[in-house]
């Protein structure tokens, strides 16, 4: 069954999602990404106070056999990091769009989210790469 990609989220070609409230962006990786990775064993995230830059790596997600860089979709300052993932990295597999959010960022340029992919665009992107 195809996964639901929330309509109000935005997506990147590197398989991150972002949802914005005011000037705060919440970021995670998509269902497609967690499927590709397999069982997640560890998530390496930045710390509150760190800066992130759109398109640059901000952390990584590890499975037993692979590591995948996580790229920040936005530019800003990390204000909160999801501590649950340290003890329960499997949440990334179980609920990648919800409980397994990774960081919250205060946006320095809220407008840049507009240039990211919509749910429909992301879905056709991944379907394209699967064929």
């Amino acid at each position: 069954m195809a996964a639901t990609y929330p309509e109000n989220y935005r997506y990147t070609k590197e398989h991150e999602w972002v949802v914005v409230e005011g000037d705060t962006a919440t970021i995670g990786i998509t269902d497609y990404a967690q499927k590709e990775l397999g069982d997640v064993v560890y998530v390496d995230l930045p710390q509150p106070g760190d800066s992130v830059v759109a398109g640059k790596t901000m952390g990584s997600v590890e499975s037993v056999k692979a590591v995948s860089d996580v790229y920040s979709p936005v530019t800003g300052e990390v204000i909160e990091v999801n501590q649950k993932l340290a003890d329960a990295p499997e949440k990334v597999n179980e609920d990648p769009h919800g409980e397994a959010w990774m960081v919250k960022v205060r946006l320095s340029n809220p407008a840049e989210v507009e240039s990211l992919l919509t749910a429909a665009e992301y879905q056709s992107y991944i379907e394209g790469s699967e064929s």
Binding site: D39, V41, Y42, E62, S63, V64, P89, E90
Partner: protein
């Protein structure tokens, strides 16, 4: 039908700590011939430890039984073939062990004066010469402790040579088919890695190389034959392209087992390379080390070699520390001397013609295996095979059977798996290197096993996917091991 293996009763053994009990002992020291000293007086009360909590206390027979039982849980070359691509798991000659154990080679301290270890220095000189002869290079350092260590050393040599000419440059090109240590070593030497794609034959793409090499390229790191077991037919042109722009050619010598005695890297344009004594030169893998990774260079790089260097003077061999351009040391002392002794013994046993013959046998075996398995497994690259061949699981994947499953089922047939999922440029890779050690009988057993598994993948895929079935333990949960790593035993009281 499984011919090479049967189940049999083997002892159950837990960790040594669980066998321990206060008061048991396996040692006896002679009485002191000098007065005893109170540790508190000598070291200061605050510096004296309590007992080493949890350390074992067992009797001698328990030591013997414990490790003997554990050893029976291992597969080893002494049991049978390891078709591991890129590892060159050949027979470990026991004469090597015997000579390495000679008192005069084993019980010498690295800081003994040069005149008291002339025999050891002679061993080092003899091996340096032999490796130069085999590789066609001008000088060799035996300091690096392993292949990866040799790669790092080689990269540092490249940097030193380019720096001496004005600037070190910034980028090293690495093929996407390369072994993981290659880019890691490049990064450790302070260079940026740039990947270079292979062409449809799985070799370095000349056009891509030409486009990629510029004044900022320090070197290309190539493996030849490459990780598909295929000789880089354009290697001379590759060297020319690099040299024209002042860049160097580094060769990862992991696949020397395909070249020794028939081709010399120094003659096809290589400037610097490393060797793996624990691969081509038969020193034992020992469950994961020790190895040795000598680095061979052309004259141009000789001044930068790690110090000290051996020189021959009237009084005999001597270590020379007067090397102002040297990159320095890459480890303390001189190298894995015990491993060097074994490699030299191997070379002496073969001689020039013997090495050539071993190489030809290694290639013959790989070509034979490839021919016999081609009807059953997908062969993505059709170029002539040298000492190893690479299939993929494409034909079996349709039934949900992947390379890892086939590898695990091979265990039930009495073999160690081949190299799984490497090189990365082949999806579902099955990489096989028989080495010259294997007779036709052993190869035929292996081939029969692989053919049988291909059939099982068709007719009974679940059997393959659930393999191995006949081992002491079956597939392990690597996910939990990585999520919640437990890397030591702990006493109840400490938990």
């Amino acid at each position: 039908m499984i011919k090479k293996a049967r189940q049999h009763v083997s002892q159950n053994e837990s960790l040594i700590f669980e066998r321990s009990s206060p008061g048991k002992r396996a040692y006896q020291l002679p009485p002191l011939d000098v007065p005893a000293v109170d540790p508190k007086d000598a070291l200061g009360a605050g510096n004296v430890r309590e007992e080493i909590g949890g350390f074992p206390e067992v009797s001698e027979v328990e030591v013997v039984r414990h490790f003997t039982r554990l050893s029976t849980y291992n597969y080893a070359i002494d049991h049978g073939m390891y078709p591991l691509g890129s590892c060159t798991m050949k027979y470990n000659p026991r004469v090597n062990e015997a000579v390495a154990a000679l008192e005069g080679l084993r019980w010498i301290h690295p800081y003994q004066p040069d005149e008291s270890v002339q025999g050891a220095l002679e061993v080092i000189a003899a091996l340096e010469n032999a490796l130069c002869e085999i590789t066609g290079m001008d000088a060799v350092t035996l300091q690096p402790a392993a292949g990866a260590h040799g790669e790092l050393t080689g990269m540092l040599l490249v940097r030193a040579a380019l720096e001496a000419e004005g600037r070190p440059r910034r980028v090293v090109l690495v093929p996407d088919s390369a072994h993981g240590t290659n880019p890691a070593s490049v990064a450790m030497a302070g260079y940026q890695v740039r990947n270079i794609a292979s062409n449809e034959k799985g070799m370095v793409d000349l056009a891509a190389l030409e486009a990629a090499v510029d004044e900022d390229t320090a070197a290309l790191m190539v493996t030849n034959p490459n990780t598909l077991g295929v000789f880089e037919e354009n290697i001379v042109a590759v060297a020319r392209i690099l040299h024209a722009k002042g860049a160097l050619l580094y060769m990862d010598g992991a696949n020397m087992n395909a070249l020794a005695g028939i081709s010399r890297p120094g003659e096809f344009g290589v400037d610097v390379m490393h060797l793996n004594l624990h691969k081509t030169f038969s020193t034992p893998h020992g469950g994961g080390g020790p190895g040795s990774g000598p680095v061979a260079v052309k004259k141009r790089l000789e001044p930068f070699l790690p110090l000290p260097r051996l020189v021959n003077e009237e009084a005999g061999w001597r270590w020379d520390y007067g090397r102002p351009q040297s990159i320095g040391r890459v480890r303390a002392f001189y190298g894995n001397f015990g491993v060097l002794v074994r490699a030299l013994a191997y070379i002496l046993a073969h001689g020039g013609e013997g090495l050539r013959r071993a190489t030809l046998d290694a290639i013959l075996n790989a070509v034979y295996v490839r021919k016999k398995l081609e009807p059953y497994y997908e062969l993505p690259h059709k170029a002539p095979t040298m000492h190893e061949c690479v299939f993929s699981d494409a034909r079996q994947a349709g039934r949900g059977v992947r390379t890892m499953d086939i590898a695990k089922r091979l265990i039930d047939y009495g073999f160690h798996p081949y190299t799984v999922s490497f090189p990365l440029i082949v999806k579902g890779a099955i990489m096989i290197e028989p080495t010259e050690t294997e007779s036709k009988q052993e190869l035929d057993l292996f081939i029969d096993a692989m053919i049988s598994i291909a059939r099982e993948a068709e007719e009974n895929p679940e059997l393959v996917k659930g393999a191995p079935h006949m081992t002491r333990i079956r597939r392990v949960d690597e996910v939990t091991a990585a999520r919640k790593p437990v890397v030591r035993w702990t006493r109840e009281e400490e938990k």
